[in-house]
Symmetry: C2
Subunit: 194 residues, 2 copies
């Protein structure tokens, strides 16, 4: 299996973390999105959306969208709750991550890390919505150890990706103590700590 | 089961269509998002994201995020491919819909239908990205009958929701003949036609 990705991208790291956690072997193919490597005809044939990560399996079939990839790779593992409703709550967080968290928390970080903008040059609307996403996580994590159930799941993998580096997008995690506690525990449970 | 939703919202209609198609009984509770009904304490207790649709089951448990809801309600049905890789390709479209289609095609429609803006007053960046999403669907549907596999699936349910009303957001579907063909066939397969 080949993972086409960028190690600065949280979406790509989700796939790496799941493979490492489940001991799935892979080759990592570095793709530089800033020089157009994800917009070449060969890349677009793998993923018409022109985005990393993409996974190519040994039979040539390809799969895109980070949360769809990790959901497929982790099937049958403890990272997906066996109870159907618990799995649905995990999915609720996965879709929320892509709709209400990543477009703000990750995009502010993209503006600073990839485009070199200062903290004050971030899009104010994205900052406000990113803070709202972190506040919603804080409220939930004040009452729950992990996001979907009492055990670590793909919901934690997906939200961890950009939350743990939110400070690189100018967000001050000191305002979110339950989120900080959860980052430590999720990293520990996934074997990412230290 | 109660569905809290707005019949003008494609995200809410996805849930209704799946219930109707699978003959799942439900009560529809109308929520007016424009008057703050999705931001009350009672509503936020069901969905901290303050968004419709939300489903409340008879045991009091609740589930949000349209694509997570339909994935749960349709489990074990023909709307989810039984082959795990085919189901993953369906998921790829579900996540793409929420990240690269809904925020542009649906939001342009929101600006016109809910906020009363004219076609020329839409956000130009959202128009451009909405057109890119429709172009990607067109390219895929020139070669494939449905989105994920040869049979209708939740991928078609999810993308149909806002694509069939894209003209209400100022998008001209005459430029996308394969998308128009797919709308007719998907509506037919889901029992929405006529």
């Amino acid at each position: 299996m080949q993972i086409y990705g960028d190690t600065k991208s949280g979406n790509c790291l989700k796939v790496k973390w799941v493979c490492d956690h489940l001991a799935l072997p892979y080759d990592w193919i570095a793709v530089d999105i800033m020089t157009g490597e994800s917009r070449t005809p060969a890349f677009l044939a793998m993923n018409g959306a022109g985005q990393v990560p993409v996974v190519r399996f040994d039979d040539g079939r390809t799969l895109a969208q980070s949360n769809a990839i990790i959901r497929y790779l982790a099937r049958g593992s403890a990272l997906i709750p066996s109870d159907p409703f618990d799995a649905a709550k995990m999915d609720e967080w996965l879709f929320w991550e892509q709709y209400s968290h990543e477009p703000y928390v990750a995009v502010c970080r993209f503006q600073m890390v990839y485009l070199g903008r200062s903290r004050d040059e971030r899009d104010p609307d994205k900052v406000r919505r990113g803070e709202a996403a972190l506040a919603r996580m804080e409220e939930h994590l004040q009452k729950h150890r992990f996001l979907a159930t009492d055990a670590v799941s793909l919901a934690d993998v997906a939200l961890l990706a950009y939350t743990r580096v939110a400070h690189e997008g100018g967000f001050d995690l000191a305002a979110y103590p339950a989120v900080q506690r959860w980052i430590r525990e999720a990293e520990q449970a996934l074997g990412l700590a230290g």
